[in-house]
């Protein structure tokens, strides 16, 4: 880290804007020292304060702050009688390495008297570009580059440093700074962090509720798995049953379609035939009825009717004979009269009369007696009877016979038909088929329902198992987490112990190194070479103890003030070297009470090699003409400035050059 430029504007005695180049280079040559010359009260310490304030803002430990709060301090820093429009402003440009690249950052702080919110305004620029990301985290950022704790050891006041050596044990601030500089605070911080971690984990463990045992969940899981297997098997069985039921239903349906249909067709056909046969039978019977209404019953009395016919004819013939006899008798009497007239011989006449009498007798015989007549039938009836007997009855009988025959045939046909009907599948079988079909359908419905139930059960079990698995996973996770936590707590103790040991060892090691460096530096700067042989540093308090070559302790109060200051500077120098940090060093009033020999040592040996950038703030008596020339001879000065105080305006102006 190198400070490049400091800009002061209306800050303390520095009126207006003053730019100070802090680059430890001149004409391309690297020279570590930037020398500021100023009389007492000339603004040297203010310059130091400006650097601190730029870096740390409210946290900065400035010499003139005392117990003032930040707002008041800022107000106090505003130059008196300055233009109220112009703000007070500090800018510090420095360069450091970020990701192996040199970065030049400009810290800008500005404020006015009585700042409204009690704060300054901070801006970080990289070149001309604002780095808002850094602005927000500036305090953390600078803490990585130049921790506040150690800043006092790099930006130090010679007078203050002397106190460090005088005290039996350094103040806590310095102890902290030393620790952080030596990297010891890392172990400390780690230890504290570990404690925090352990407390957190313990809290978490305490708040974590007792989990169900792993075995219990596994038990449940395996039970559920078994149940699922069983349920799946059952489901398989149910599916088979369902398929069978479906098959049976199909069979029943096929059978119903084929056989039932056949039955229906056959029966319909047969019944139709039967109906038509019965219709013809009925017709036949009707015609028989008509026949019965005719002359047919006369067949029964045919013999009687034959007798009637014979008798009737006889009676008719007799009647005719009777009529003929009367006519003949009349003719006979007229013939006899005629013969009388003819006067035939009596003999001849008698003969004719005898003949006629004989004829009459024959005729009478033919007529018969009256008693033989009982019918007295008329001719019309007789001819009707004759017709009935000869033609009608035979034909009627024949007709009746024919009809009876066809009736018989019809009846036989009906019988055959009925037999067929009887042998044809009966409606009962149809009903059976129907019942079978319905039963099969019902079976399918039931099997389907069973299957669905099984399916649901399987689903539910599957869900349960998922839940158990999840629970198991959560449990495992938590248990691992808990184990982790426990492990962390357990191992934290060990780590704490190890850390303690590590810290002790590290401290010892670092302190040993520091002891050697400080001893070297001290002896290098001291002109009494045999005064101190070894410097021991207390590992607890960091108090310094000196030992002479004989190994006897040298009490500090036996050291002169100058020696004490040298001891302090040697301590700081050693620290800087041990810490390995490349940080600028700023020294205020570096040569307070030193004799010329020690001054020369410092100027010759310390300042040029204290750091790659050494800012010296000196009065004209400290680094006087001789010392200045000495440094110039060494080519150690990069730049020198004179802080010129003007009593008339009570303002300081920075000018190039030194007192001479």
């Amino acid at each position: 880290m190198i400070f490049i430029e400091l800009v002061l504007q209306n800050f303390g005695p520095y009126m207006g804007r003053q730019v100070i180049d802090l680059r430890p280079q001149i004409h391309g040559e690297t020279r570590p020292i930037i020398l500021f010359g100023g009389m007492n009260g000339g603004g040297k310490t203010t310059l130091m304060d400006a650097i601190r304030l730029a870096l740390y803002g409210p946290r900065a430990q400035c010499s003139t702050r005392g117990n003032l709060n930040y707002s008041d301090f800022l107000t106090q820093c505003v130059t008196r009688d300055s233009d109220p429009v112009e703000k007070t402003r500090i800018e510090l440009v420095f360069e450091h390495f970020e990701n192996d690249a040199a970065v030049e950052l400009r810290i800008v702080r500005y404020w006015e008297a009585n700042p409204k919110d009690g704060k300054d305004t901070l801006g970080i620029l990289e070149g001309d570009w604002p780095r808002t990301d850094l602005t927000n985290i500036w305090d953390e950022y600078i803490e990585n580059l130049l921790p506040l704790g150690i800043s006092n050891l790099f930006l130090f006041d010679g007078e203050q440093v002397k106190e460090l050596a005088e005290q039996e044990t350094p103040p806590p601030v310095v102890v902290d700074a030393i620790q952080s500089l030596l990297g010891l605070e890392l172990a400390e911080r780690l230890s504290i962090d570990l404690d925090i971690l352990v407390r957190r984990k313990q809290k978490k463990l305490a708040s974590a509720k007792q989990l169900a045992s792993l075995e219990e969940i596994e038990q449940k899981l395996s039970t559920s798995n078994d149940e699922l297997d069983k349920a799946k098997q059952e489901l398989g069985g149910l599916q088979n049953k369902l398929e069978q039921a479906h098959e049976r239903q199909r069979d029943a349906w096929d059978k119903f379609i084929s056989e039932g249909g056949k039955i229906a067709a056959e029966r319909t056909q047969l019944e139709k035939e039967k109906r038509s046969l019965e219709g013809s039978l009925e017709q036949m019977r009707e015609s028989l009825g008509e026949l019965a209404g005719g002359s047919l019953p006369l067949v029964l009395i045919q013999p009687l009717l034959n007798d009637v016919q014979v008798q009737g004819e006889r009676e008719a013939k007799s009647l005719q004979a009777k009529i003929a006899r009367d006519v003949v008798k009349e003719r006979s009497s007229r013939l006899v009269e005629y013969l009388d007239k003819l006067k035939l011989k009596p003999q001849q006449l008698d003969k004719v009369k005898f003949f006629l009498e004989q004829e009459d007798e024959a005729l009478d015989r033919e007529i018969g007696s009256e008693e033989d007549f009982w019918l007295s039938a008329d001719e019309e009836t007789l001819s009707l009877l004759a017709n009935v007997l000869r033609h009608e009855l035979p034909s009627q009988v024949k007709l009746a016979e024919e009809k009876l025959q066809s009736l018989e045939a019809l009846e036989m046909e009906i019988t055959f038909n009925e037999r067929q009907l009887a042998s044809a599948p009966s409606p009962e079988i149809y009903e059976q088929l129907d019942a079978a079909l319905k039963a099969a359908q019902a079976a399918v419905v039931k099997a389907q329902a069973d299957y669905n139930n099984g399916q649901q059960r399987c689903d539910k079990l599957g869900k349960d198992i998922e839940g158990f698995k999840k629970e198991l996973a959560v449990y495992s996770e938590r248990s691992i987490e808990r184990q982790n936590d426990e492990h962390i707590i357990e191992s934290s103790k060990k780590v704490q112990e190890t850390l303690k040991l590590f810290k002790e060892r590290l401290t010892l090691r670092k302190l040993n190194k520091l002891e050697v460096e400080v001893t070297d530096c001290f002896r290098y700067l001291l002109h009494k070479v045999d005064l101190v042989h070894r410097i021991a540093i207390d590992k607890q308090s960091f108090g310094l103890s000196l030992y002479n070559p004989e190994g006897q302790p040298v009490p500090k109060h036996r050291l002169s003030a100058g020696e004490k200051q040298l001891l302090a500077i040697a301590f700081l120098w050693g620290l800087a070297r041990v810490s390995g940090r490349h940080l600028p060093v700023a020294i205020d009033t570096p040569l307070g009470r030193l004799d010329s020999s020690h001054r020369n040592n410092l100027i010759e040996r310390y300042f040029p090699s204290a750091s790659h950038q050494v800012i010296l703030l000196s009065t004209d008596t400290e680094i006087s003409k001789t010392e200045y020339e000495h440094l110039v001879e060494q080519e150690a000065i990069a730049n020198s400035y004179l802080l010129k105080y003007q009593p008339a305006t009570r303002k300081t102006v920075v000018e190039k050059g030194y007192f001479w």
Binding site: P297, L300, T381, L385
Partner: protein, 139 residues
């Protein structure tokens, strides 16, 4: 020709018997069945027993309705039968004999267990003809 009686009135028994026959043969005319009954009785050789026959039903018909086209032939048959039976052919005898024959015939037909249908009635006539022919053939 003059019928032996103008109106024929049946007995209650005969009416019931005829009703049965009507049911069997599906012939619903009283006169036709009466014609058959009369002929049936005449075909029997025996003389009907002279029993009193009441006319106590409401079935009543005239001779012409009874005989129809064959009214006169039936009168002749009755006369011939009465003559053959030696009963005389006066109107009263004829009337009596007619009633006896009619009711006896109704009884025969109704009592015949073979007559259950019209064809059985017809068969009575056809069968008598066949037996006559057969007996003729035998002679």
């Amino acid at each position: 020709m003059e019928p032996p009686l103008d109106r024929i009135k049946l007995s209650q028994t005969a009416k019931e018997q005829l009703s049965k026959l009507k049911r069997y043969t599906k012939i619903d005319q009283w006169n036709i069945l009466c014609r058959w009954a009369f002929c049936k009785s005449l075909s029997e050789n025996s003389t009907p027993s002279p029993v009193p026959i009441p006319a106590d039903s409401n079935v009543e018909m005239s001779w012409r309705v009874f005989g129809g086209e064959m009214s006169d032939i039936l009168i002749l048959a009755l006369k011939q039968r009465c003559h053959q039976d030696g009963l005389g052919t006066d109107k009263e005898t004829l009337a009596t004999q007619f009633r006896l024959h009619l009711h006896r015939g109704i009884g025969y037909l109704a009592g015949d267990p073979n007559i259950k249908k019209i064809e059985h009635l017809i068969d009575v006539a056809v069968a008598s003809q066949t037996t006559e022919k057969e007996s003729k053939g035998k002679r």
